[in-house]
């Protein structure tokens, strides 16, 4: 079952946003109320992205407290919209809805102490900026937790 494509304006550009169908009753009136709902959903999606990033940073802090702070943490997820204005967390890679990658640099052998980790977590590094140690991909071990 294909979703509707609804035109919405983002800044100065009009985009066609493809919605995903969700189960349930839907009034069959003719006006395109879905457009306003998707605009609202788009704005809420931006809030969702910030919240997920904040939650990820919190996860790093918890890992640091257990002296297993990863050198790099990636969270991958997709967002879709329904015509009813729902924001849906959707899979972007294989069948996983949410992909979490924890990377440890085994070559350097560093494993921060709880104290060091605590200091590090007070100034978290941007998740999309790998350290020089992380650029050696063959030395990193990726662990993917799929939910």
């Amino acid at each position: 079952m294909a979703g509707q494509r609804i035109p919405i304006r983002v800044g100065d550009i009009e985009l066609l946003v493809e919605t995903v169908p969700v189960a349930g009753s839907e009034p069959t009136s003719g006006l395109d109320a879905a457009r306003d709902k998707v605009v609202d959903a788009y704005e809420r999606a931006q809030v969702a992205i910030v919240e997920v990033a904040a939650s990820t940073a919190d996860t790093i802090r918890k890992l640091a407290a257990r002296t297993v702070r990863p050198d790099k943490l990636e969270v991958e997820f997709g967002l879709k919209f329904s015509a009813q204005g729902n924001v849906i967390v959707a899979g972007v890679s294989g069948e996983a809805t949410l992909v979490v990658r924890l990377s440890y640099d085994t070559q350097s052998g560093k494993r921060p102490s709880a104290h060091a980790a605590s200091q590090a977590s007070s100034q978290p590094r941007a998740l999309d900026q790998p350290s020089s140690d992380e650029r050696s991909d063959d030395s990193a071990r990726d662990q993917q937790l799929r939910e």
Binding site: M1, R5, A23, P27, T28, S29, G30, L31, A33
Partner: protein, 198 residues
């Protein structure tokens, strides 16, 4: 509007010409004259539509004025909302103008036999960027009644042809054109279960 023929075996054949739009059908318009839904005339000056259609055009309260026009084409006219049953999504409009005809009649929804052939004609909002379709017909089959949330009696039919804009349209029994209900909503199925339910 309904053609009846008796064949050599004595059986009655009933048909509705696909290009014919009953004169008792009309469109509920928003302030920009964009059709939001369908209405039907039960007797001169007395029109029925869905409450949520009126709400979408800013006329979702008793006493509100609403702009209307005939589905078959013609000048727009005004009506005033006089009754609303929000639970059943049914509203009554008193119109200053009368349409050429009224419905053949009403019949009790609960008395309709399962699998009875039905016809819905109404406003059609079709996902076609380059064309607009003033009306469409949706042929369906009766699937009986149900009770929603332990208090609301609803009828259900199965059709693949229903489109947005048909809210407020009468559900007519094909054999005699009697109205057995009014379109309010469809059920969207994602997994295929209960698909094409209205």
């Amino acid at each position: 509007m309904i053609q009846r023929e008796i064949n050599s075996s004595g059986n009655e054949r009933v048909s509705t010409p696909a290009r014919e739009v009953p004169g008792y059908l009309g469109r509920v318009l928003d302030p920009g004259s964009v059709p939001a839904g369908t209405f039907f005339q039960v007797e001169p000056h007395v029109l029925i539509t869905a409450c949520h259609v009126l709400a979408e055009v800013g006329a979702g309260v008793i006493g509100a004025n609403v702009r209307l026009d005939p589905l078959i084409g013609g000048a727009a006219f005004d009506g005033r909302v006089t009754r609303m049953d929000q639970a059943h999504d049914i509203a009554v409009i008193q119109a200053e103008h009368t349409l050429p005809t009224s419905i053949a009649g009403l019949t009790a929804t609960e008395d309709v036999t399962i699998r009875t052939d039905l016809l819905i004609t109404g406003v059609s909002t079709v996902d076609d960027p380059y064309h607009a379709y003033r009306y469409l017909h949706a042929v369906g089959s009766w699937r009986g009644t149900t009770e929603r949330d332990d208090h609301l009696q609803l009828g259900r039919l199965q059709t693949r042809d229903l489109v947005r804009g048909m809210s407020g349209a009468p559900v007519r029994r094909l054999v005699d054109d009697l109205v057995i209900g009014m379109v309010s909503a469809r059920y969207n199925s994602v997994d295929g279960w209960l698909r094409d339910s209205v």
